[in-house]
């Protein structure tokens, strides 16, 4: 997960959300860790937006209603393009992981 965010942070594509630039990564083992993205996932979990059936968040399921809500949001211009690009990157990341 952190790897995907790291790659997206490095991108210089138009429409990149500002928060990606604020992410910091710790390098102290076999994978990079980001406190900010970890906190965000925890926040989603505790607010019931996503479900995680194990402690390490290997599998996260999005609440269908929230998924519908997110899908219904229309993104404009560059942000929309960036999100499409980000989705492809993340899909590739997870495909490699498995």
């Amino acid at each position: 997960m952190a790897s995907a965010f790291l790659r997206l942070r490095e991108e210089n594509a138009p429409g990149k959300p500002a928060f990606l630039g604020h992410l910091r990564f710790d390098w102290d083992g076999r994978y990079p860790r980001s406190q900010e993205s970890s906190d965000y996932i925890h926040a989603l979990h505790f607010t019931g937006c996503v479900g995680a059936s194990n402690p390490s968040y290997d599998e996260i399921s999005l609440n269908p209603k929230l998924g519908e809500l997110w899908s219904s949001q229309k993104l404009e211009g560059d942000l929309s393009k960036f999100m499409d690009y980000a989705m492809k990157q993340v899909e590739a990341e997870f495909a490699n992981a498995h």
Binding site: S3, L6, H22, R24, F25, D26, W27, D28, G29, R30, Y31, P32, R33, Q35, E36, S38, D39, Y40, H42, A43, H45, F46, T47, G48, V50, G51, A52, S53, N54, P55, S56, N63, K65, N96
Partner: protein
């Protein structure tokens, strides 16, 4: 000198000047200490770790003001207001960490030939000699790791962490180490790199009585000592040594868990012998995706040349260094469980005790106010930092605060000294959201999880509290901040215990346990002087009612259901053995008091409840109504 880290270099220089000016007999140009001839070692008795030897180098540091000032700084801050016997200091803790660190190091050497093999990389002819030098450096790092503390330990750290100079230095140290570092470590790191320390150790060698020892003693590497303090070393192969000083199962933790529990009088123990019997070293990799480690090894000039950085492979996906890490195997599972339990219990009993939090909150606010006053008087960041380095816990009894021109500082100081502590008037934990479909509360909790927005949110929250207090009693002042200061009211969000480096619990790639207390578990309380409210004809009940019904939107769904306060505080997650053992251990430790612990099974409660509620909203509403009624009965009607 660390070329790419100018703020750290400048801080080292400033600390050097400070030491020279403040302690000329020890660190000045005409320093006379160590004055008397030094024996090769001295023996010091400790109530936890028994009789231990400290080398001449260590004694030179121990007898210097760097370590002696730690005698005046209580290890657990103001916890002695609740646990009167918890009056142990950072001094004995530092000695304890030194002892435990070297015991762990010795255990590694005794139990495994790997360590000797690793040392061969650095001294092919005499690896044992290299290990002996490394052991000396490890002990010195342990001894110096807390030298940056000021009065009441972590409470004052909250205040000086906000100094721009230290923020910048912490950012540089984070970049240097390749992982997040706080300001407390910055000062210890910089102090250990000062010329003053190097010269003290050099002079100590000249004072050695034993001429043989004087000739044979090897020069210690102060660069490596400073890196060990922040959990790094000169070479990735030596990372396991740094893990002894700074990791989730480090010597610091091993000492303070036992020491804090012991001095507070709590029956918490873990099996140190089993830890030492099982601790080992395992091959691993250190990823370096952003090049921080490469810059570090170049900056300090790694021993035996710059280590080889491997290119990203399909498995690692980032460039990496081969390394050796401290590891606890499966046989150590019981010990790990004990350590985890000890840590949680200490948070529950001591660090997050309502009165301890109240006292430390009061002290922190007093120091913030005092620092603001110093700044208005023209003090720069370095002046404020030096003031903090000058102070020990006894500063509360001195004139700095008691005779401050800012009356609020004097008032707060007197309250702390006479233990007139605020009371908790309002409290909730994030897990309560699981049981209440409150969007506002969810947002509020989410914001509190964000370190960048937390401070600002709390500030806004307190401003709203102040406005509300002014509507209740206009004599409290003209500004919301006045009302907040006068009533001693603040929002307290203590940080939960962390256990993040679960890789330390693995052995040869096989996970033996994963203790992952979720960082987002937060408890939030609002404290205030109860008698201040009484004085302004406000009762706690009125305040609660006003806040909960008419105050800012955040509070409308925030409850003071005290019985649930500690609900779900423990977010220990499977594997099942750890889960089962925790329940069992806790039951043993607390004599059957397990009612207030919540262990999620499988899925988190929040998700389960959300799903239930999504199918039919009515049960959720009914639950909410029941809880509201219960709260009203419990908290308002007494």
């Amino acid at each position: 000198m660390l070329k790419e880290y100018p703020t750290l270099n400048s801080l080292v220089e400033q600390l050097d000047k400070y030491l020279e000016r403040t302690y000329p007999d020890y660190f000045g140009k005409t320093a006379v200490h160590p004055f008397l001839p030094l024996k090769s070692f001295k023996v010091i008795h400790d109530n936890l770790w028994g009789t231990n030897r400290f080398s001449w180098r260590e004694m030179a540091l121990i007898d210097s003001p760097l370590l002696q000032r730690l005698r005046g700084i209580h290890q657990t801050g103001l916890a002695y207001y609740v646990y009167p016997s918890a009056r142990h200091s950072r001094f004995e803790h530092s000695l304890g960490v030194t002892t435990v660190a070297s015991r762990a190091f010795d255990a590694l050497i005794q139990r495994s030939g790997d360590v000797l093999d690793i040392a061969t990389n650095f001294d092919k002819e005499n690896p044992a000699r290299y290990l002996s030098k490394l052991r000396d450096e490890l002990r010195l790092a342990a001894l110096l790791h807390d030298t940056g503390h000021s009065l009441h330990s972590h409470t004052s750290e909250i205040v000086y962490s906000d100094l721009p100079l230290l923020k910048k230095a912490a950012a540089e140290l984070t970049a240097l180490a390749g992982r997040r570092k706080g300001t407390g470590e910055v000062i210890s790191f910089c102090l250990s790199r000062t010329r003053a320390v190097a010269e003290l150790l050099a002079r100590a060698k000249d004072h050695l009585i034993d001429a043989k020892a004087r000739q044979s003693s090897e020069q210690v590497d102060l660069d490596n000592i400073s890196l060990l303090i922040i959990g790094r070393s000169r070479h990735p192969y030596l990372q396991f040594v740094a893990d002894i000083i700074s990791s989730d199962l480090d010597a610091d933790k091993l000492d303070y868990l036992l020491r804090d529990a012991s001095f507070a009088g709590l029956p918490l123990r873990y099996d140190i012998d089993r830890y030492l019997y099982t601790v080992g070293v395992a091959e691993d990799i250190l990823l370096d995706g952003e090049g921080y480690l490469e810059r570090l090894y170049r900056a300090v000039g790694a021993v035996d040349g710059i280590p080889t950085k491997h290119k990203a492979s399909e498995n690692t996906r980032f460039p990496y260094y081969e390394t050796y890490r401290l590891r606890l195997p499966r046989q150590a599972m019981s010990t790990i469980e004990q350590i985890v339990i000890c840590k949680f219990m200490l948070y529950s009993y001591i660090y997050h005790h309502a009165k301890v939090r109240a006292a430390e909150g009061l002290l922190a606010r007093m120091l913030i106010r005092a620092a603001g006053h110093w700044r208005l008087s023209g003090a720069k960041d370095t002046d404020i930092l030096e003031k903090f380095l000058d102070m020990t816990d006894s500063a509360l009894d001195g004139t700095e605060f008691r005779e401050c021109k800012d009356k609020a500082v004097v008032y707060y100081c007197n309250r702390i000294r006479t233990r007139l502590l605020p009371r908790e008037v309002f409290g909730f934990v994030s897990s309560m959201f699981s049981h209440v479909q409150g969007e506002i509360l969810a947002n509020f909790i989410s914001v509190l999880l964000d370190p960048e927005r937390r401070g600002e949110t709390i500030k806004q929250f307190e401003t709203v509290l102040g406005e509300e207090l002014l509507t209740l009693d206009s004599t409290l002042g003209s500004e919301p901040a006045d009302a907040i200061w006068r009533t001693g009211m603040w929002l307290d969000v203590p940080g939960p215990p962390k256990f993040e480096n679960t890789h330390l619990l693995e052995s040869r790639g096989v996970p033996t346990g994963a203790a992952q207390p979720v960082n987002s578990r937060r408890s939030v309380t609002i404290n205030t002087y109860e008698e201040a409210l009484e004085r302004h004809s406000l009762s706690r009940r009125v305040v609660f009612k006003t806040l909960s019904l008419s105050c800012c939107p955040h509070i409308r769904q925030v409850f003071a259901l005290r019985r649930d306060k500690y609900f779900s505080r423990f977010a220990i997650t499977p594997p099942p053995r750890l889960l089962a053992a925790l329940t069992y251990k806790r039951r043993n430790l607390l004599g059957g008091r397990v009612g207030d612990v919540h262990f999620p099974e499988g899925r988190d409660d929040g998700v389960r409840q959300f799903r239930n509620a999504a199918a039919d909203q009515r049960p959720a509403e009914a639950r909410l109504l029941c809880q509201l009624l219960e709260i009203a009965r419990y908290d308002l009607l007494g």
